[in-house]
Subunit: 352 residues, 2 copies
């Protein structure tokens, strides 16, 4: 038999509303009565029913977290940061794995809304149609997007500086002397990947004597990375460096390389993105672009929480986190055909 407010009101010989006030620690209740109520609640082991409370207050004290797949260590880091921040604010986190499937995504959102979540955190609205985005925009609760610019919609966003990251990766590889570089990324329309790609392409195009960069698209998973790399290795022997749009893809490249007897970094250099813990453990250790995953998750719920308190109609916040290149063992210097060109440039510089 569950203990309700009514029970403790009776026990303390007061009205339920008084009991409610006493327990919610509000003003307007005599110290003595409060004591009495608190004691009764204690004695009976009272636990409030949050559904009932939620029904009247309209808040559930829970937020939805929609990621493509929690098994991706990137998302488990983000999720942990998010959950810690939620816990600190006494909010619960409802975990949803969308697999980037628009139907699943929208079904999750609707279900979260039916449960009256106070806010939604989501990874990718990539696959969503305009109507679906519009539905989200007016759903009545604040939404913050992870790693995706909000575009014209009133969503808050928290992102790593994906453009700069892509650019740094590109510049690094170009600086190492690579002239034929491939980029392995996810399917088109994936927001953060698009920015990484742009940054990378800009860096490559700024290099001299570069072969036109090759962009290969596939699943952004270990399996996908492996498949893309197999294709690349067999069809494009000329490329000497790869920029993988995330570490997990990079790990797939490592697997494919081992399979096909291509040495990394001797035959081909590899740069990843995310700086997962496992980068240091794989062989060779993966050079990558670091982004603060845990902090992104935390910041995302903090921003969401602020907006929940302030109201959906307040203006959305945006936060971008810097990224840095972490050098490990997956890249080598190269002196390809353009070596002379570089030497000449060096001479020119010395004369100045």
């Amino acid at each position: 038999m569950k203990i309700t407010l009514k029970d403790i009101a009776k026990e303390a010989a007061v009205n339920v509303s008084t009991a409610s006030r006493a327990l919610s620690g509000a003003y307007g209740v005599h110290a003595d009565t409060r004591e009495k109520v608190l004691a009764a609640a204690q004695r009976l082991g009272y636990r409030p029913n949050l559904m009932a409370r939620g029904l009247v207050t309209g808040r559930s004290h829970s937020i939805g977290l929609l990621v493509s797949d929690i098994r991706n260590p990137y998302f488990s880091e983000v999720a942990r940061g998010a959950e810690d921040a939620a816990f600190a604010a006494s909010f619960d986190l409802i975990l949803c794995n969308s697999d980037l499937n628009p139907a699943k995504q929208i079904r999750y959102v609707r279900s979260l809304l039916e449960k009256n979540v106070d806010g939604i955190l989501m990874n990718s609205v990539a696959a969503l149609s305009a109507e679906q985005c519009a539905e989200l925009a007016v759903c009545g609760v604040p939404v913050t997007l992870l790693n995706k610019p909000a575009g014209k919609y009133p969503f808050s966003t928290v992102l790593a500086d994906n453009y700069q990251g892509g650019r740094q990766a590109g510049e690094y590889l170009v600086g190492l002397g690579h002239r034929a570089i491939a980029h392995l990324t996810g399917h088109r329309g994936h927001g953060n990947f698009a920015d990484r790609c742009r940054g990378f392409l800009d860096a490559v195009q700024a290099g001299e004597g570069m072969a036109p960069p090759l962009v290969i698209r596939g699943e952004h998973t270990l399996r996908g990375g492996c498949e893309m790399a197999r294709k690349l290795f067999s069809q494009h022997p000329e490329v000497t460096a790869i920029f993988a749009a995330n570490d997990v893809i990079g790990f797939g490249v490592l697997e494919a390389a081992a399979e096909m007897n291509r040495s990394i970094p001797d035959d081909v250099s590899l740069v990843g993105f995310d700086n997962l813990e496992y980068c240091a453990l794989v062989h060779p250790a993966l050079t990558t672009i670091h982004q603060p995953k845990y902090e992104i998750g935390r910041a995302a719920v903090e921003i969401l929480l602020r907006r929940i308190r302030a109201g959906v109609d307040t203006i959305p916040e945006h936060q971008v986190f810097g990224v840095t290149l972490i050098e490990r063992q997956s890249c080598c210097k190269r002196f390809p055909i353009s070596a002379q060109l570089e030497a000449a440039k060096a001479q020119a510089l010395e004369k100045v």
Copy 2:
């Protein structure tokens, strides 16, 4: 303005109760009226309020998942399996990270109960006191434990055959000729680790000419594994093999070995437990005991769901999954002092 049942009742010119029945697809409502109601609901974009429904039905259609840390790839696999099963049954999953902290754990449980979750899935009640376990046992919702025998409490359980796994690891290492083997594990009282340890010790004790096995305890994380291994390498140069209680600890050993210039497997062999995806990627690839993580998560919620439907007072189910050793590159054959002994045995066998 949110659309309620009342709105659609008015729109369809029926009573709310009729609308309710029509929408819940129940018997006892004329086909025509049902059509009318469904059409109205469609037109107005009606979405039921699950808090209100839950308040009367007493069910929330959500279950709590309590793990120590979702960043551990073991748990993200389990969580994904669990979430998929929950999604299939239209249940939501509330993610909680306990860090094995009893205070946090109990706070989560209480908060879940206040939210009226229909069931709880938890990883470890290790640190819980007897009273806390008792509280859980009578909390009113079914509980299923992951990787932990239920003991005397009425919890369902889903576990890998941890004893056999530990035993297989031990036998494998003994069979390879190792005579001084260490076991790196978590702190005492961690259910599944205890069984792995027993299995391992039994295997070692069954070996001939074995040095007494060394058991070192610490955090069951990469950091912890690293620390334990550092200690081991510096204080016990005689050990030639390590059984890590899980892969993550094993990864820590790899890191420590690299740091201290100990070669794995040439100087010391290493076996892990879990068979995480990253085992194949680390260097050297980790030999380990495979357990079906995704399936464990899925089975756990399926069992939980069955019990939710049948009632808390039904008898708990128990399911154990088999494990297998996966050979990779982290182990070497050894011919230590006891080589003669083995040779002698071999001769003896040949004569038979």
